[in-house]
Symmetry: C2
Subunit: 246 residues, 2 copies
């Protein structure tokens, strides 16, 4: 039976500072884009030295709650996905998650992304996807380029669904999984073609606003990927490549 909020250990000054500013941001007293006073002034406000205050700021900065557009300006940051993506990616890397775990989840996220994209994607976005797909076709056989384009394709597809929660959740997972293509491509060269087929079918389904078909093809696409992983014997291999993050 734990209470709602737990202030817990707050002896340390730098921690209190970070917590206080964080609270102000969450509470809405400070809004993304707002500029904060200089370090000297802030330090004065909180009654600590600059050194101490700076430690608190570092923490907020690395939490992505504030950032410095120029060294001169310290402002409240708008949370950005890639920030979280690296964090989760690192965590999963350290946890040594397997391809199986990544795949099980991706089997849900990508079909959902495709479905939502079919429902909400605009004409322009579909056209953008189409031209991206053209690049992919042209890059057949070029592994690294294909991976990069594939990541891009799926990320854009997810963005089209107008669901930021899905975008946030799937990005780090999909990234890690798709990167595994590097290890399966040598075993299954024909997967280039199957990927191209799947992508173009997804695009066609989007054009028809056929959510079911989009979802189905996305599912088949990811299933295909799994077959490749099986051929390469990766099912329970650890999915990284720590230096892939850096």
């Amino acid at each position: 039976m734990k209470a709602t909020g737990k202030p817990a250990q707050v002896h340390f000054a730098y921690q209190q500072i970070a917590d206080e500013i964080e609270a102000q941001i969450l509470r809405g007293d400070l809004n993304p884009g707002d500029q904060l006073p200089g370090e000297a002034e802030l330090a004065g406000q909180f009654g600590v030295t600059r050194s101490t205050l700076r430690e608190g700021l570092r923490q907020l900065e690395s939490d992505g709650l504030v950032h410095r557009p120029s060294p001169r300006r310290l402002e409240v940051a708008v949370p950005q996905a890639d920030q979280l993506t690296t964090r989760s990616g690192r965590a999963m890397a350290l946890m040594k998650v397997t391809f199986r775990e990544l795949w099980q989840v991706t089997m849900m996220t990508e079909p959902l992304a495709a479905r939502l994209a079919a429902e909400h994607g605009t004409e322009d976005e579909i056209n953008g996807l189409q031209s991206l797909h053209a690049e992919t076709v042209a890059a057949e056989g070029m592994m690294k380029r294909t991976i990069s384009l594939d990541e891009d394709f799926h990320t854009r597809l997810a963005d089209m669904g107008r669901n930021r929660v899905l975008g946030l959740a799937r990005e780090p997972i999909a990234l890690l999984l798709f990167r595994g293509f590097e290890q399966i491509a040598p075993f299954a060269p024909k997967f280039y073609k199957r990927q191209i087929e799947a992508h173009s079918n997804i695009i066609a389904a989007l054009r028809d606003r056929d959510a079911d078909r989009a979802e189905k093809w996305a599912r088949m696409h990811i299933e295909d990927f799994w077959r490749g992983a099986q051929i390469a014997g990766l099912e329970d291999e650890i999915a990284l490549n720590p230096r892939a993050l850096s």
Copy 2:
């Protein structure tokens, strides 16, 4: 076209320190549990002052890569979920995501969690879930307690599936969504009973190792939740309560 790794801006000493130690951890030169030297020694190693080094440490600490079990001991941390959960939760809060977005994703994660739990959960875990469920039944009508127990139920269910990726991805989302029960309960008192029914059916399915049935009941459970949200008119409301995080 972006290259793979981008070291980018690294003029700042504290940043370089954080990056270097992070790299050592990711690379495996430092493993979770390893103790690091004292600040003075580290500062000497990197050729900076303690103040500067400390700023780097703060950053690593807030990244969850190192932590202090006692103020005296600084060691490489094992990445823990709740760390990421607060981060993502905060991000979604600031993004002002809607219940709809949360629900759409949860409609995928919880059924998958139930399915995997049916496949991999141990007898002990199922019993644990059962007694948790008993508490929930006893708490019928007590909103806050019910919410807390519900969160716990679903988290445990997810843990049973032996998929850490799913656990990581769903936790912050489910937390935010379920907390919305606080706003729907007043409108739909009968949902206490429906929740109890769903949970006990899920448990029964787990006992029978019936993945399909477990998945189905989980889906119905979340659908029910959505109906409640509709009754309360929350569909496109912002899902928080910033102080729910604290």
